[in-house]
Symmetry: C2
Subunit: 234 residues, 2 copies
């Protein structure tokens, strides 16, 4: 990857990939802007999966986790096999993209990823079988939610780039109820950049981070940027 | 203004002004990106003044508005004469910038602006005199806050570009306590773009919108963009 980027720069070609994180949300361009102007990233923390955002925003009251997953699957918010979302791989990929952009040398295999697929269910032959067995494992997450609630907190499934310790991870974290991550609704993504400049209060971008229209917008925006770099009027 | 922009485009020169709204926050670039890729702005709504953000985030409990203003003045969060912040002119300027960028033909004189400077105090000779007299006018805002509170809402001082009705305004609005604007802290700016693409859930940018470092970052970012447009490697 680093070789590719170094060749790209030497050959005066361009390389854009805004829509790889948060679809049309201005994530990569914001990060590049900060870095190019001399800011230093301390931490990037975000809810990068619309599906997992929705699941934890809805995991409230007396509902069990498997119930929320079933409902989301029904509504088409998850992949046909919800294990594709619950494994955390998609979030891990986004953490790697942001970590590399921030200058860290990380590979997918370096990341500790909290999978929400119970170990015994990884081998289930079908999504149906998985959904049927999932309720048996509700207890652990219910317990974690209760512990969080007792402390005035909520659970959120986040990706973290820790630029100080040069590491990344995907985990289930607890946030105070007045934290911006605690107040999400729907399937919004949210990304917080804590930098030398934005240290006391992070720079936050929030909004729908998936869907055909907004993803196309992100890609189109890159193409127009390319056109401008190649001399188109602004 | 329109003539200037048309000349600029015809002459293949560039015109950037990211830091005019929200300092280093990606506001103008985000808006331009949406428009250039064919999205349609329906509404832009935001808290554009760090000072007024701080004042209303702190206007809670049993505190009077004049007390909060005095404290903010003491801490250096307001202009030497707080009337410069409370008049709303600064917010109105930002609404005009965003409205014009969105294609509306608006002038500052077209905007209804809610001034928080009581009419009789506009003529006060000095900031000291103004601060001394301000407590007499606490009652009205206290009443508005109480009404909002009784409805589970908070007061926020916002600028609005209403692209559907082709108008803008600066006003004191009430927001439900789970609205992103209600949960601000410190002197953060927050801007929500509701567009054809981001209709159900807006695209939101939040963070410190003033200060030497972040403003310089916004300007520097424009300069680098200019360099790229003129052929620098990316």
């Amino acid at each position: 990857y680093l070789k590719l980027r170094s060749l790209q720069r030497k050959s005066y070609t361009h390389y854009f990939y805004e829509a790889t994180v948060g679809a049309g949300l201005p994530i990569i361009s914001t990060l590049r802007g900060l870095l190019e102007t001399g800011d230093h990233i301390l931490r990037i923390e975000g809810i990068f999966s619309g599906t997992l955002s929705y699941l934890f925003n809805s995991f409230v009251g007396t509902r069990s986790f498997s119930e929320v997953v079933a409902e989301a699957k029904e509504a088409g918010y998850t992949e046909p096999d919800p294990r594709d979302d619950l494994s955390g791989t998609d979030v891990a990929r986004k953490v790697i993209i942001l970590a590399r952009e921030s200058g860290l040398k990380l590979e997918l295999s370096d990341l500790p990823v909290r999978s929400l697929v119970p170990e015994p269910l990884k081998a289930c032959a079908s999504a149906e079988e998985f959904m049927k067995q999932l309720p048996q494992f509700d207890e652990e997450l219910a317990k974690q939610r209760q512990e969080a609630e007792d402390a005035g907190e909520v659970l959120r499934y986040v990706g973290v780039v820790d630029a100080i310790n040069k590491e990344g991870r995907v985990e289930l974290r607890r946030y105070k109820k007045d934290h911006p991550f605690a107040q999400l609704s729907g399937s919004d993504n949210i990304i917080a950049f804590t930098t030398k400049r934005y240290k006391e209060q992070p720079l936050i971008v929030r909004g729908p981070g998936a869907g055909a229209q907004v993803t196309a917008g992100g890609i189109f925006s890159d193409i127009l940027r390319l056109a401008s770099y190649l001399g188109a009027p602004s």
